[in-house]
């Protein structure tokens, strides 16, 4: 049972990741796909941050005295990854607006039908 206690944080992340990933590949709505992508990415962020946690540690801002701190490196990496994520989302949204203007729909299926009928 100790494995479960030790790893539950990681399993939560895996669960979230699976939901997000499922939304991305199974849904036909373009906006919802991107939301799924975001959930997927956030789950990965959780993985990174979880591995940086140290029992009894605090946020890695050095204060006087001896304290134990959590690992700062995953935090830095994820800060970067969050920014990359929002950049991707913004670009995707702009694309969706253009797709809607060109096709009049944001459903994958309708778009395929329109293209096929050309």
């Amino acid at each position: 049972m100790s494995t479960f206690i030790d790893l539950y944080n990681y399993w939560i992340f895996i669960f979230l990741m699976m939901i997000g990933f499922y939304i991305v590949i199974a849904q036909g709505n373009l906006v919802k796909k991107i939301i799924g992508l975001n959930i997927f990415q956030t789950a990965v962020f959780l993985l990174y941050i979880s591995m940086g946690k140290v029992k009894g540690g605090t946020a890695p801002i050095i204060v006087a005295g001896d304290a134990s701190y959590s690992n700062p490196l995953p935090h830095v990496l994820i800060l970067t990854a969050i920014v990359v994520g929002v950049a991707t989302t913004a670009l995707a949204m702009a694309l969706i607006i253009r797709i809607r203007k060109a096709y009049g729909t944001i459903e994958e299926q309708d778009i395929h039908e329109q293209d096929a009928s050309l």
């Binding site: 494995t3 030790d6 539950y8 990681y10 399993w11 939901i19 990933f21 939304i23 590949i25 199974a26 849904q27 036909g28 709505n29 906006v31 919802k32 975001n38 959930i39 956030t42 962020f45 941050i49 979880s50 946690k53 140290v54 029992k55 540690g57 946020a59 890695p60 801002i61 050095i62 134990s68 701190y69 959590s70 690992n71 700062p72 490196l73 995953p74 935090h75 830095v76 990496l77 800060l79 970067t80 969050i82 920014v83 990359v84 994520g85 929002v86 950049a87 991707t88 989302t89 913004a90 670009l91 949204m93 702009a94 694309l95 607006i97 253009r98 009049g104 729909t105 944001i106 299926q109």
Partner: protein, 310 residues
């Protein structure tokens, strides 16, 4: 649990709201895992910027999702295989929050032990972000810059004409909101400046400050009118700001090159190492702040000025 709801529901508007909540919850988890800087950013970005962008998109497209007739089997299989691979991978993982885990052994201790002496910055996240892995951060600013110009490329041709009535994101007809918001804006901007320059000591830094700064102007745009904000930030001003922030960052690197150091080696910026680091970190964070602010405003304006579909 919120995530499941997102998967099941069909009203996109509600989904986005839930997604915002989900982001806030995630930010909460980050705090409990000691990642304050990350939590700050996730709250500002996931619950703030992303939600605004998705909402603007929904307003321009459609709210209801159609029932999907996709086959559910293959996606489910792919997801299950992926999940299984990961669960399999976790079986040998070091236990959660174990201080003896290899993650905490090799590279990280040096940051925790020496970063303060080497860079003079007590917030180790800032030290690593803006100095040890400064090059990554430059890449990050470049990503934001890229997204900014991509959004402008995609949407600039579809800007509505001045005389068209009814802005998409316009709250200027609510007098109370307008008044309260006007009161808040100076404080938001002040707070952003604090976050920008206090990143050395507490959570914060150029990126978070940029987002908050932009939020201030976005609020201004919402209550006073998009056109007013646009008159403050024309496309060319925004472009100029976006580029100059990135150029400032690269410029610091080029100066360090010219002074005989490696690219982005701040030590050569001043006679004293800590002073050099201080200047370097200050300047690159400023670069980040400028580019992020300008890009966020540019994106917001681009999204709000798209003509609505009939």
């Amino acid at each position: 649990m919120v995530a499941i709801a997102v998967a099941v529901m069909r009203d996109l508007f509600a989904i986005v709201m839930l997604f915002g909540i989900y982001s806030l919850l995630t930010a909460g988890i980050f705090v409990s895992l000691d990642a304050v800087d990350v939590a700050f950013t996730e709250a500002a970005v996931g619950a703030g910027i992303s939600t605004i962008l998705i909402l603007s998109t929904l307003a321009l497209t459609s709210r209801e999702e159609k029932k999907s007739t996709h086959s559910r089997f293959l996606p489910l299989l792919v997801v299950l295989v992926t999940g299984a691979t990961l669960v399999y991978g976790t079986l040998d993982m070091p236990a959660f929050s174990d201080p003896q885990a290899p993650v905490h052994q090799h590279v990280a201790p040096r940051y925790l032990d020496q970063a303060q002496q080497e860079t003079g910055v007590p917030n180790i996240v800032t030290a690593v972000l803006a100095s040890y892995r400064s090059y990554d951060t430059m890449g990050e600013v470049t990503v934001i810059f890229t997204a900014g110009i991509a959004v402008m490329l995609l949407l600039s041709a579809f800007r509505h004409r001045e005389d068209e009535a009814g802005n998409l994101n316009d709250l200027s007809h609510h007098p109370v909101l307008k008044y309260v918001a006007r009161l808040m804006i100076p404080f938001i901007l002040l707070f952003a400046l604090y976050v920008q320059f206090h990143g050395d000591y507490g959570p914060g830094g150029g990126f978070q400050a940029g987002v908050i700064f932009a939020a201030g102007f976005i609020l201004y745009g919402l209550v006073v009118g998009i056109d007013k904000t646009r008159s403050m930030f024309s496309d060319s001003v925004l472009r100029w700001l976006m580029a100059s922030g990135l150029l400032l960052y690269i410029g610091v690197g080029v100066v360090t090159l010219l002074l005989g150091g490696e690219f982005l080696n701040y030590n050569v910026l001043a006679a004293d190492q800590v002073k050099g680091q201080h200047w370097g970190i200050f300047l690159v964070e400023l670069g980040v702040g400028i580019t992020v602010t300008a890009t966020m405003i540019a994106m917001f304006l681009a999204f709000s000025e798209v003509r609505r579909p009939e």
